[in-house]
Amino acid sequence: MAVLNMIKQLSYIWRKLGSIHLTVVLCLLLTADLTYGYISINRRTNLFASLNDIGLTAWIETYGRHNLLYTAWFFILLGLLTLLCINTFACTTDRVILLIRSREHFGIQRFLFKFSPHIMHYAMIILLVGYLFSYISAQVIVSQTMVPGTTITLPGKTAQITFESFEPVYYHGDRLAFLNNYVISPRAKLLLTDGDYNKTAVLSYNQPVWFKGYGIFLKNFAPRKKDGMAIRVRIDMNIRKDPGVCVYIAGIILFTAGLFMYLAEWIFFKKYTKESL
């Protein structure tokens, strides 16, 4: 009897967790929370900028806990997203079970394509879990400054990075006169070496370099102008080892596959459905 009661309770909780009503409520709460976040973050980006560098756990213990008035929305966001993931998982799993049970009604191809929206839903969960994993597990070397000719060694490895030269692209145009002689594309030439392995790579904004499991990101550089103050050439890099990347890239690939399957079903089977009617 006790076991039956427990099964009943679990079944009730599962149904509630997968309910579309919960989805609607969560979406409304997310909207309200993000509005609160938008107001809180205004001119307080300092509070959140370090989240990328020190990771979620250390961030909660420092910036997060000590500025609750401005960070509470983020904690609420984490809770709501967790609930949304659970809601999506329960709802999607219910649908998948139903779909498998009714597989006789479809041909094998049609049956497979019917999974496309569910694949996208599962992919979204993987994406969110990947980002959470990334913020929890990434190791970051913050603001590693290099000047031309200097070399650093990656932690725990023999691999080395040498900053060979800085070859920026300057703006030379008439349309935006105030930008004349400003760097519009900072390009740092790096030599990546590990034993006999040698490779030259160009590091720029939105153009990170990947080497031996580490992502190298350009954070800052100087000088920013051709004829400005006499400032020594330098680049500041963030070097990240982030196991979460694989998880959310898997999520992106899965989501894209689901999207293509959905489009294919819509294009190829819509006609078939109409004809059969």
Binding site: N46, A49, I60, N67, T150, F178, D227
Partner: protein, 373 residues
């Protein structure tokens, strides 16, 4: 149904327990976290403070008599109290003075003796205790090595690789975004643990904070709100203090309109000349960056240096103030500077106020100075 009710009743208690559990995850840790703009201090234990400098780099402060932690790069460990310091910026030197350690610890600067107005630095340079290390863009590293500093305070991160090689810890004291008023007032509390001078830092902050409260009280019913701009037009660029900078915030607090309130970013941020002139049409007061030595001798002199200047209201019918040369080295007199700015903006509230850090520019140069320009 009863079970469901129980679950509903229990859920708030469960949530509360989780929150309490999370907040007391490390009951043994004596941890306090202080954020000062982009700088942070995190007291990990009685004998360890992790600090993040303006570039986001972490340094670990450890007392001299305690063994170094093995999980930290030796060049990131600063032994406290620090006894020998090289400082690049005037503000850093002024903060050392506010902490009462300037004479004791400063061993190197990047400005020659002629540029200094701080008595202790002039004397130190004359006696040889403090070394001039060369211009910031061409530092003499051999000289740095000779001075054996235990810490370098700099605004220029490009020296970090060389200092790492020399094994000298370095803290970047500039930040990508301008220091807000709170950070400017509290910066002394960031440097204090390096020298075990927390009490002096608290006293300094309290003094400045009390001054700020007095200013707010005095200007609360000031009536008219003067429009203020802070910046300059140079030959090829226009630089201003953004609204998030301490001067922008202070002007806002003194019941006046800061006309670059909408500009956000680094101190001395570059804007377009059109934006500057747009604000110049309605401004009552202009604070220029230039001192007399750099040509700010009169409104006419400014207009001669850049004819675009002559179209702005402060030059035609308003007031223009230039900093006196020792202003940039007076960070330890922040309370006086705040009061003087408030007095300039609301002269009626501060009758007979004697200015010490700014000078009002006359319309034209006195004959002898005018002839020189």
């Amino acid at each position: 149904m009863n079970d469901n009710k129980n679950i509903r009743r229990l859920s708030p208690i469960l949530i509360a327990l989780i929150i309490i559990g999370c907040s007391q995850a490390n009951p043994d840790k004596q941890q306090s976290f202080v954020q000062i703009g982009e700088f942070t201090l995190n007291r990990i234990s009685k004998d360890r403070i992790d600090v993040h400098d303006g570039a986001g780099r972490m340094l670990v402060l450890i007392p001299r008599n305690i063994p170094a932690p093995k999980d930290v790069d030796p060049v990131k460990i600063v032994r406290t109290p620090v006894k020998r310091v090289v400082a690049y910026g005037f503000f850093d030197v002024a903060v050392l003075r506010a902490l009462g350690v300037l004479e004791e610890v400063l061993v190197g600067v990047t400005n020659p003796a002629g540029n200094w107005y701080i008595k202790e630095v002039k004397q130190g340079l004359a006696s040889g205790k403090i070394a001039y290390l060369g211009d910031a863009s061409s530092i003499d590293y051999e000289r740095i090595k000779q001075q054996s500093p235990e810490l370098v305070l700099t605004w220029d991160p490009s020296i970090i690789p060389m200092l790492d090689e020399l094994g000298i810890p370095c803290a970047v004291t500039s930040t990508p975004t301008a220091m807000c008023l709170n950070a400017r007032m509290r910066f002394v509390q960031f440097l204090a643990p390096f020298f075990n001078r927390e009490a002096e830092a608290t006293a300094f902050f309290d003094r400045v904070n009390n001054t700020l409260l007095e200013i707010r009280e005095k200007t609360a019913n000031a009536g008219s709100a003067p429009k203020v701009m802070w910046g300059d037009i140079y030959e090829k660029r226009v630089l201003v203090e953004p609204g998030n900078a301490w001067v922008g915030e202070l002007i806002g607090l003194t019941q006046s309109d800061y006309l670059f309130e909408d500009v956000y970013g680094t101190s001395c941020i570059e804007i377009s000349v059109e934006r500057f002139l747009y604000s110049g049409e309605e401004a009552d007061i202009l604070f220029t960056y230039r001192t007399k030595e750099y040509g700010a001798t009169s409104k006419a002199a400014l207009a001669r240096m850049n004819p675009l200047f002559s179209d702005i209201k402060p030059l035609k019918s308003g007031k223009v103030y230039a900093p006196l040369p020792h202003y940039v080295q007076s960070g330890d007199h922040l309370d006086e500077i705040l009061t003087e700015i408030a007095a300039i903006i609301h002269p009626k509230l501060y009758p007979d106020f004697k200015r010490r850090y700014f000078t009002e520019l006359p319309d034209t140069d006195p004959p002898d100075i005018g002839g020189l320009i």
